[in-house]
Each structure stands twice: as structure tokens, then as C-alpha cells.
């Protein structure tokens, strides 16, 4: 077991009706004036924003608001939020939404806490500057997916360049997250299933590591992935099943707070980086984008990480061992793709609805390879040519 740190200070308040506690929690964590940050019409139309405001009013926390966050959240909106937060003297941010809104909130938190710097310096490839401060953040979660409600990471897209980049710091871990599965009962199936794919991928990226077998961490990870797949299938047929929504929502928070990687080398996040290019260029739904490229990545790298692909096949996907490890590993990949198809998720770019040109593939591969200074990958290092081959295999 490799030395590790595990730090998840976010207070989770889980269950029915818990959004009514937003004000009380914000107050307890020191809020005087909050920026309520959210996405589109549904949060307003459903009355959720009004309920959150009422809760803040009751607790005596002043508030301003900024909606309009889009999937693959934009740097422009972040800059708008920073300006608003500074102008209004905001000391707390309430993210009402999913990963995009939370990530945008984290970026605003960084920018408003250090207004003398350009916030994009924290996200760009150079990565020369690390955040020193962040406004405290609270979350009212509306979709089980990104796990940003307990995570240290934030992903922002510069809409002018199409670059989608991430920043990681414990400073941005939310102080609290209100996670009410009822708020997800009306999600369209595509959003639900893309969310489940995202939850799965956060643990899968950790599972495929170069440090090998762990017992407790692997048991937790396998249990989490099996729980998500089982309940995603239930939700395909019964989207109004609260228990299934609840299992998936709790899994979303645990899948990206670090728990499923404790003691490993942290895993291989190549699939995320390969998908980030698609997200930046074609604005695809993140979880679906991950599902679309995972199989091609897996086949490309499995030879370099056979024991973990075998354990994934057997321990997670329930595959009976085959004649040799390669066959078992491949059967595990095929079982995962069969799962994706069973819940309407794409397993290639065509099914995702994206047809990049040769030039676009080359550009995405070069951009992905540039993250972290030239090569990405842990179980197998990937240069631009490798990533290009993975995109082509996924066509």
C-alpha cells in the first residue's frame, strides 16, 4: 500500500427534503452573503432556486444570484461570477446544480479569493500557479454524476479556444453538500445514464493503476461500481425509483472524493483527458463521452496492465476466468461495453454523434498529449500518436 492522504471535510446532508437546510448549513459554515450559482431553467422552473433562497432568508444569509452555467462550463461565466462576487462582497458560494455548476463555483471561488491574479492560470497547461485561497462553497446537488460535491477538482472550458482543463486543490472542497435524490427523479434518461457513466468512470480510472492489488480499497471500489450498474439498469426502466436514485447519488459522492483510490498510485486518468478534448471541441455530455472512448482506450492499454484488467473482469463484471489472462481481460471490457449499450450509452464516437475530421483528431490528440508536459497515462504512457490511434479506434 502506497502512502496516501485522505481528506474529505465536506459535510454531506443526504435525503428527502434536505435542501431546506441550505441556509442553516451556510450560516453554520460562516456565510453572511452568498452567491447562488446555477445553470438553466429547470432549477428555477422547479422552484428549487426559490426554496434555496427562502432557506437562506430564514437563516439570515443575504444573497445574490448568477444563473446560466452550461455543461462544460465556460471561463467567460466564471469571470462574470468573479466580478459579481467582488462587486457584491460575497463571502460564500452556493452551487445549485451538478458538476458544471459546482466546478464553475469553484473557479469563481478561486478567482474572487485572489482577484489580483487571472483565474485561468490555475487551469492552463503551464500549471505554474497553484491556488492559495478559495471562497467557501456549499452545494445543493441536482444530479448524480461528477462527484464534484466532495472532490478537490474543477474542470473549466475556455470557450474561445476550446481548451477544457482542470485544477485540483483541497481548498475548493465544498464545506457542505445537500444531496437529495428526489431532485433527480425528473431527469431525462440520457442525463441519468450519462451521470452513472461518469460515476463509474471516476472509480474505473482509479482501478486501472500501476500499483496493483489492494483489499479494502478494491472491495469498496468493486462494490461501488456494481451498485451503480445495477441501479442504473433499474432507473432505465423505473426512473422514479427513489431507492435506486439514492444508491447512485451516494455512489457519485464517494466515487470522486478519493475513497476508491486510497493506497494506490491514484490511477490512470487518460480517458478523462481524451474525453476532455471531445468536450471542449464538440460539447458532448461528459459521461457519455467517457463511455464512448473507454473501450478503445482499454483495448489499447490492457496488455500493459493485465492483472488489473483481469481483476476488473472477475471482481467487478463477474466474468468467469477464460483460457488465459488476455481473454479474461477482453471479456471484462466487452462486458462493460455490453452494460453501456444496455443503458443506451455510446461505446464509440459514431454512437456519441461525433464525427471528427482527421485534422480534428490530430488536434485533439496533440492537445490531450500536452497535458502534464508531453505524455499522459499511468498504466501505459500515451504520446499524441497513441491518443490518435485511440480516437480512430473509437470512430
Amino acid at each position: 500500500m502506497i502512502n496516501f492522504e485522505y481528506y474529505t471535510p465536506t459535510k454531506i446532508v443526504f435525503g428527502r427534503g434536505t435542501e431546506s437546510r441550505t441556509g442553516e448549513l451556510a450560516k453554520a459554515f460562516g456565510a453572511h452573503k452568498a452567491l447562488i450559482h446555477y445553470g438553466g431553467k429547470s432549477a428555477v422552473a422547479s422552484g428549487l432556486i426559490e426554496r434555496v433562497k427562502a432557506s437562506l432568508d430564514t437563516a439570515g444569509v443575504a444573497h445574490v444570484e448568477l444563473g446560466g452555467v452550461v455543461p462544460n462550463p465556460h471561463l467567460g461565466k466564471v469571470r462574470e461570477g468573479i466580478a459579481l462576487a467582488l462587486r457584491e462582497g460575497v463571502d460564500f458560494i452556493i452551487a445549485v446544480g451538478g458538476g458544471s455548476v459546482i466546478d464553475s463555483s469553484k473557479a469563481i471561488g478561486y478567482g474572487a479569493a485572489e482577484p489580483e491574479h487571472d483565474v485561468w492560470e490555475l487551469y492552463d497547461d503551464a500549471g505554474t500557479r497553484k491556488p492559495a485561497k478559495c471562497l467557501p462553497i456549499g452545494v445543493v446537488l441536482t444530479i448524480a454524476a461528477a462527484g464534484s460535491e466532495m472532490s478537490s477538482s474543477s474542470v473549466i472550458t475556455d470557450e474561445k479556444t476550446g481548451l477544457k482543463r482542470s485544477c485540483k486543490s483541497d481548498l475548493s472542497r465544498p464545506r457542505f453538500a445537500v444531496t437529495n435524490p428526489e431532485l433527480t427523479l425528473t431527469l431525462p434518461d440520457w442525463q441519468t445514464q450519462s451521470g452513472c457513466a461518469d460515476v463509474l468512470m471516476h472509480t474505473m480510472e482509479r482501478w486501472f493503476n500501476a500499483s496493483g492489488t489492494l483489499e479494502l480499497t478494491d472491495a469498496i471500489a468493486a462494490g461501488l461500481m456494481k451498485t451503480v450498474m445495477k441501479n442504473a439498469r433499474i432507473l432505465r426502466d423505473h426512473p422514479d425509483c427513489y431507492e435506486a436514485r439514492a444508491e447512485v447519488m451516494w455512489a457519485s459522492s464517494l466515487s470522486h472524493n478519493g475513497l476508491t483510490g486510497c493506497g494506490s498510485d491514484g490511477g490512470d486518468w487518460s480517458v478523462h483527458k481524451i474525453e476532455h478534448e471531445l468536450g471542449g471541441m464538440f460539447d458532448v455530455t461528459h459521461g457519455a463521452g467517457l463511455a464512448a472512448v473507454w473501450g478503445s482506450w482499454a483495448r489499447y492499454v490492457m496488455g500493459a496492465c493485465l492483472p488489473r484488467f483481469v481483476s476488473f473482469a472477475v471482481q467487478v463484471m463477474g466474468v468467469a476466468p477464460r483460457e488465459n489472462d488476455e481473454a479474461t481481460a477482453l471479456a471484462g471490457i466487452e462486458a462493460m461495453e455490453a452494460y453501456y449499450r444496455s443503458v443506451g450509452m455510446p461505446t464509440n464516437l459514431r454512437e456519441l454523434g461525433v464525427q471528427p475530421t482527421d485534422a480534428q483528431i490530430a488536434r485533439m490528440a496533440a492537445s490531450a498529449a500536452s497535458v502534464g508536459g508531453g505524455r499522459i497515462g499511468v498504466v501505459k504512457k500515451l504520446a499524441a500518436a497513441d491518443i490518435e490511434a485511440i480516437y480512430r479506434a473509437a470512430l
Copy 2:
């Protein structure tokens, strides 16, 4: 799934050599002058206390010290610590030890933060006062057992009356815990195995609940218990196995931080309460005491909670389903007792080395039943007569 809160702000710094980071961590969490609190000779003789002091010196954190904490830690020592902390202007407590030292530190933290009150009011049966403040606590863990390094609870014995009582509050959750499995490599087997029994029981007490099946939480709980049993057996034969020490140590922290009970009614803590009386009266090792009475409790209550005993048998103990649920449940209890015997843990009071008189049994049963106002138990309510029957069955 029942609404729940999950709040584990403790920063875990896990692995080899991590005690050298104690000073840096204490400083980061605001310490200026720390009370180093510990137990007996081994922490001093091993050089650990000196290493912790050197680390604090390097970080510029002043310190005083108080050793002498005993298993089933005493109220008298707590009062001594409170007086010392107040006299010396301590603003942080560093617990170097296991559950007893951490629990004593929590009690000192409460008492020093509210010196106008008697700290025992937080622990006594009346439970009329709740803590409002606690000094911040850091931990250097030396045994995998109590999980107090991430938990909200503290158990103290009033050595004058023999009463062993607990206090629960998020205020006492440690700010950080340095958990280095190397520090446990020299533990005697009895301590190692009693520690493993304690780790197991924290998840078992949560498993046996009246709220029924969960998926993710049960998968985590089952994985944790199986990991502990497997590695406890390895440590019986190979006490110097770092990997097994590491699995058990990480399990100890996760077993009592709330994770294995998320979404349930919190479980049934009767076995702890039944053991607390033995601990208060006979000063037995906590984990061994739990093992000694668990089987008798389990047989007494299993009829009231059959589905959870069946799932325990099948999902945790790997028992093949028998002719009916009662038989399956009983086979699970027997498998657990067989495990305890295989690692030298007692499954009754005789093996624990305790032979209470009739009067002592009656006194312990009455005292246990008085906790929480007359009856304890969740899967089955237990009056004093029930608890007496359980003690007798465990003779």
C-alpha cells in the same frame, strides 16, 4: 434509504514514516502550544514521543506532555489533563496512542474548552448537557482498533464508580490523524487481535439494524469485515506483515467514521453497552470483551432481525444458505465464533478470564439497561432481565 449526515473532516495522513509530519500538520491546523497525551512506556521507549516532539519543535509548536493513560481511560487522568491544559494555555491536543489515549484527549478537549462545567456531565447517564466546544485534536495512531481517530465518540470510565460511559459530538472529531502501520508491527498478538475484533464490531453493530438492506453501504461494510478477518488471520502467523497491518489500520478508521452505516438507522450498539459494563468492572480489553459476548447477544436477538443475520451469514461470512433462515443465521453466528477462536479471541466470559458473581451480573445488567433511559437495543429492545440472560449465556 434513511436520511443521513456524513461528516468526516479528519485529514488522514497514512503510511510509513508519517509521524514525522505531526508538527507540520498541527501547525497547519492552528496549533501554538500542544499537549502531547499518551499512555505507557512503549510510546516513550520506542522513541515515538521523542520523534513527535522533534517534529513539533521543527514546526515551532510549543508543547507539554501528560502520559499514563490506561486502557478504559480514567476520569481522574482526564481531570489532570484539563488542569494541565488550562494552566499551560494549551490550544491543541496531540494524542499519541490508540482509542484510550484519543478518547482521553477528547474528554480533556471538552473539559479545557468549557472549564466552567464538570466534564463528566457530558458522559453520565443523565446526558443533560451536550458539548458546545472542544479543543482541536490531532492523532498519532499506534494501534488499529477503536477508530477514534476519525470518530465523534469518546468513552471514559469513572474509576471511582466503575461506570464506563460515552459522549458523542462532531466537535471532537480529530483535525488530523497520522496513521502509520509500522508503529503497530511490534504489538503483541493479543492486542492486535483484540484490535481487529474492535474494528469488526464497529461495522457489525451497524450491520445489525432494523432498517434493512442497503446496497452501497452493505457492500462497503461486507468488504471491510472480510478484509479485516482475512488480514487478522495473516497477522496471527505473520505479525510483521506491513500490508496486512496497513489493510487493518485503514479499516479501523473507516469502520467507525460513519461510512458503514450511511442510510441505515445507525445500527444496534447493545454489544458495546454490554461490554462497557465488563470493561468498567473488570478492566478487560475492549475488543476481546466484545468478542466474548457477541455470540450470546446474537443468538438472543437473531429471531427479531432474521434478514440481517441471514445477509451477514451469506454476504459477510460466506455461508451457503441452509434449509431455512434460522439455520442460515445460526451458521453465520457460528462462523463468526469460529473466526474468533481461530485468532485466539474469546467467545465467552470464561475464555475472557472473567467470572462475574450473580450479584455482579445483576449490577452490570441494571447499569447497561439504564443507558438511554431504561432499555437499549434497536433490532430487539433489551431490558435488564434480557441483558442478564445474555451475560449468563456468555458464562
